[in-house]
Amino acid sequence: METSARFLPRSSVDSLFDAIRHEGFSRLVGPVVRDGAIVYREIASAADLPRGMRDRQAPGTYRLESQDDSVRTFSWANGPQALKPMTFAPREALWRCERDESGGLGFRDAAQEHEPTAVIGVRACDLAALQIQEQHFLKPPYPDPHYAARRSSLFLVAVHCSHPADTCFCASTGDGPRAESGYDLAMSELDEGFVVTGGTDRGRAVLASMGLDPASSLQQDKADREVEAAALGQGRSLPSRNLKDALYARLEHPHWDQVGRRCLSCGNCTAVCPTCFCHAEQDEPALTGETSEHLRQWDSCFTAVHSYMGHFLVREETRLRYRQWLTHKLASWHEQYGRSGCVGCGRCIAWCPVGIDITAEVAALMESGDAQS
């Protein structure tokens, strides 16, 4: 099937949305401005996209600014959340228990019907995070049917990132700003429109159905240059893609105390992290007494109850919780999933109320050659 890049004029974006709907994905979700941030919500047409919006992000800071003279709709870096809540729901029922009059219990699967949905404007970092979460939730011998059902309902339209935030460091983790895989369609935004390529057969089918002209080499070069500039412009980085041994050698480093004194243990970082997967399970009985729903809900290793053991907490102190999070994300993740658990999206930096910066904390931990001093 035709795989070369096509050009989608800005005036034809709604035709692309129609073609995606025609492919069976009747519901479209895309970036919109809500409560002062770019978030993903249901959209009807290209008019709903955040035209002229730019973001300004720094440790503990996220602000949107409107640029009236810009026609672009993707000139921003990720807001607090994108794909994760669509595949790993913040709260969902796993099963239901029904109790009959004689006390007998019947266990029923929770419904798993999800409307086929196309997500417009997925970023490279979130596609990398999606692959990590798929590895976690779908690994044998217990692949999770709830995650699988949500994942298989999605059609993903990536937009290569041309405007990273100051908090972004996906170039150093190798996860962006260009979306390399995991999408159905990928687009680069230019002033006059989009350069579009297909990533899957169904994506290429959508593209072919539109009868678009090939993108010119000038358009493709311009698109590529913007993504290259987005990589070069990133000021933050991690010193290595594999910090396992370096962090394991620094489990008693005094910097854990230092960061532990600043950290509020609020769990914002884990809520916005696109790879964090911890969740609590709990029952919610109906008032009638006849049924009880068994739910899972996002949890955080920064809460006290996360390590609750009946008679003690494994991680009473905040410094131990921060160390658990960071060493899991950047060290033990390699042993569990063959790569780091950080995709460089920078959300944990921007959404930390006290501006704790994972790249700065790692740098401080690495600064001392002697792990114990």
Binding site: R99, F107, P145, A280, E281, H306, R323, H328
Partner: protein, 277 residues
């Protein structure tokens, strides 16, 4: 796709009060097909569900070949276990499992089996002790070292006395605080190592109990030149899913619910006793 997280119904067929806060539930699957397909290994656990309240991971005390109800010994420590304490014979609950890695049965064949436990009876090793005793010819000596805080804490005292009388079996008990009817040692479980005749080349050691106790015991065993490769231990963490998804039970690179609860000591050594993991 099968929902790996959904329990099946079981019925309480017997309920034994072991101490004021410890009880044993004997559970029977109400679906005979589920019962006949169920297989377990000593050291594994089930997730038990109390209607409307929630689930807890509980070790299985039964022998894998025992046909009949599954035994679970439970201590009342929280919302779910306190609620389960009120269940009566005939009541229904949920069960899913078994989960995790059990004791190393193949490695133990032909060797002396040394069991070191502390705390309240330590259910995870009871299934192993029963396993050895009902296949006695396949193992060497059985040495059981059990430490408790208080003499009243020793559940299954008769069972220990019965084991003590068996040939080729050594049972040594110690309580931190002795008492008038306590004929055994006084002190930590580590005081028993001098009395135990542990053949360092023939023995496989299985430990279960508080981590400080296991660490102190391992140090004593290493001093006796028992190789680290001969030691296995069962540890405990917060477990909510049992299938490696929820993240609570992580210790370093491991999810205790799936990679454990029984670990080979060399694999767990870097993490054992490190506060916060």
């Amino acid at each position: 796709m099968h929902n790996p997280d959904r329990p099946v119904e079981v019925e309480v067929v017997e309920r034994v009060a072991e101490t004021p806060s410890i009880y044993t539930l004997h559970l029977r699957f109400t679906d005979p097909e589920v019962a006949s397909a169920y297989r377990l290994l000593p050291g594994q656990y089930n997730m038990l569900y109390l209607y409307g309240v929630g689930e807890v991971p509980i070790s299985i005390v039964s022998d894998p070949d025992h046909e009949g109800p599954l035994e679970h010994t439970i201590r009342s420590v929280g919302r779910v276990t306190e609620g389960m304490e009120r269940l009566q014979v005939g009541d229904r609950m949920g069960l899913r499992g078994p989960y995790g890695r059990g004791w190393p049965l193949e490695e133990a064949e032909g060797r002396d089996v040394v069991i070191v436990t502390g705390g309240l009876g330590c259910a995870p090793v009871v299934s192993m002790i029963r396993y050895v005793l009902s296949r006695r010819e396949r193992f060497g000596r059985l040495v059981i070292l059990q430490g408790v805080k208080h003499t009243d804490d020793l559940i299954w005292r008769r069972q220990y006395e019965r084991w003590q009388a068996l040939p080729n079996t050594q049972v040594l008990l110690a309580a931190d605080v002795g008492g008038p009817n306590w004929p055994f040692s006084v002190g930590k479980v580590t005081v028993l190592f001098n009395q135990a005749n542990i053949d360092r080349d023939r023995s496989i050691v299985m430990l279960c109990g508080p981590e400080v106790m296991m660490k102190a015991s391992i140090d004593r065993l290493l001093a006796l030149n028992v190789p680290p490769e001969s030691m296995w231990l069962s540890i405990e963490r917060n477990m909510q899913c049992g299938i490696g998804h929820c993240g609570h039970c992580q210790v370093g690179p491991y999810f205790v619910c799936q990679d454990g609860p029984v670990f080979h000591y060399p694999a767990l050594r870097p993490w054992l006793g490190v506060t916060g993991f």
